[in-house]
């Protein structure tokens, strides 16, 4: 049996313009297809097979299957032919974050870990929470002292790695005037400028561009 499978979701760009009040945008989607699998043998032997992709950096599909595994970060795909024992996985994401992640309650972070929403690596990088897994109890344990230190270091890093607005303005403006933008972003700007004088004025005023400035290639 063959089926045609296709779908579209946000893949290389986030949906919407961010999280709220400091929260990060919710994850983008990707496509995962496993073809020419050994699922027939797995089912016959009652072996474990992937039912999720909790940590794409260390995927269950790669660990549990012998297969041709295709991961596509652009999430829209044209129809693909699938046959018996092929597998398809696509993740739906939750909503964007709300508030500064390092103010999140430790109980809420622990719940997400126990529910396998996030990996411990993401929890450390985003929420500044240090954890250990208790194999015997099958639960995550939060190291409160290490977490406080981690969060203090994140605040220090925020200060060290960030720019003033003037520095940011120069940094970002250079991308435009030196034409360091990708083709599709350049095209998006130039078409928007062409369609709307109002938007053109906002864009030119914000970056203090000369009236005769043109996006490259237009």
């Amino acid at each position: 049996m063959f089926i045609n499978f296709f779908g579209a979701r946000d893949g290389l760009a986030f949906h919407g313009s961010g999280g709220m009040h400091g929260g990060y945008p919710h994850a983008t989607g990707y496509r995962l297809i496993a073809k020419n699998t050994n699922m027939e043998e797995i089912i016959r032997n009652q072996d474990p097979y992937p039912i999720a992709d909790a940590d794409p950096n260390n995927g269950d599909f790669e660990k549990l299957l012998v297969a041709d595994i295709i991961r596509k970060s652009h999430c829209s795909i044209y129809p693909v032919n699938l046959k018996n024992y092929d597998l398809v996985h696509f993740a739906l994401s939750g909503g964007p974050g709300y508030g500064d992640p390092i103010e999140r309650s430790l109980a809420a972070v622990k719940q997400d870990l126990d529910d396998e929403i996030y990996t411990s690596e993401i929890v450390e990088n985003v929420y500044g929470v240090k954890v250990k897994y208790n194999e015997a109890k099958k639960e995550w344990i939060i190291d409160k002292e290490a977490t406080s230190e981690c969060r203090r270091n994140m605040i220090k890093r925020r200060e060290e790695e960030s720019m003033t607005f003037d520095e940011f303005w120069e940094y970002e403006r250079t991308k435009i005037i030196e034409n360091n933008l990708s083709e599709h972003v350049t095209r998006m700007y130039s078409e928007s400028i062409e369609h709307s004088t109002k938007w053109k004025n906002i864009f030119y005023e914000f970056w203090k561009l000369d009236e005769d400035f043109k996006m490259e290639g237009i």
């Binding site: 961010g18 794409p56 599709h184």
Partner: protein, 161 residues
């Protein structure tokens, strides 16, 4: 008409209500004195004395100072005129490489830096993360929200300022 005590509203602001309590508050018609009560609670929470006119954002308030309406962080930092974009006073970090984006997202679950970047806006004093923008590289900084304070007080609250 519903009315809630101060304790309940404090827990509402702190995100400590459970769903069955919260659900009723969302579903009920708004209590008429809610804004007053919320302002009172917020004013008690901050360490400074300027009168809060409007909560603007997590950590940020529009306050009255020497007759001027300014944006002020709960840490005390003053961003200035509320009609100007407070983000322009922030410290800003731009995540525009795969490495910086993949610190926050597993493989294939963040944006591609050629399509979008993540900008983090921090209060220059307390360094709380006030806002993130995810925009195409080169996008002007977004002005989130310019409230019409006079209309809100006069026509909605029927109060003078």
């Amino acid at each position: 008409m519903a009315s809630y005590d101060k304790k309940t509203l404090e827990r509402l602001i702190d995100g400590d209500l459970n769903w069955s309590e919260l659900r009723n508050i969302i579903a009920e018609s708004k209590d008429l004195d809610r804004f007053e009560k919320i302002l009172g609670i917020l004013q008690e929470k901050v360490d400074w004395n300027e009168k809060i006119l409007l909560p603007l954002h997590e950590h940020l308030y529009i306050v009255l100072k020497h007759g001027e309406r300014i944006v002020k962080c709960d840490c005390g930092y003053e961003f200035g005129d509320y009609k100007k974009n407070w983000k322009l006073k922030c410290r800003i970090n731009v995540r525009d490489t795969e490495h910086e984006i993949n610190e926050l997202y597993p493989k294939d679950m963040g944006c591609h830096p050629l399509w979008m970047e993540i900008r983090e806006f921090f209060c220059p004093n307390c360094l709380v993360l006030l806002e993130t923008e995810s925009v195409p590289p080169g996008y002007p900084v977004i002005f989130n929200f310019l409230p019409d304070i006079d209309t809100f007080y006069k026509k909605w609250l029927k109060k003078s300022l």
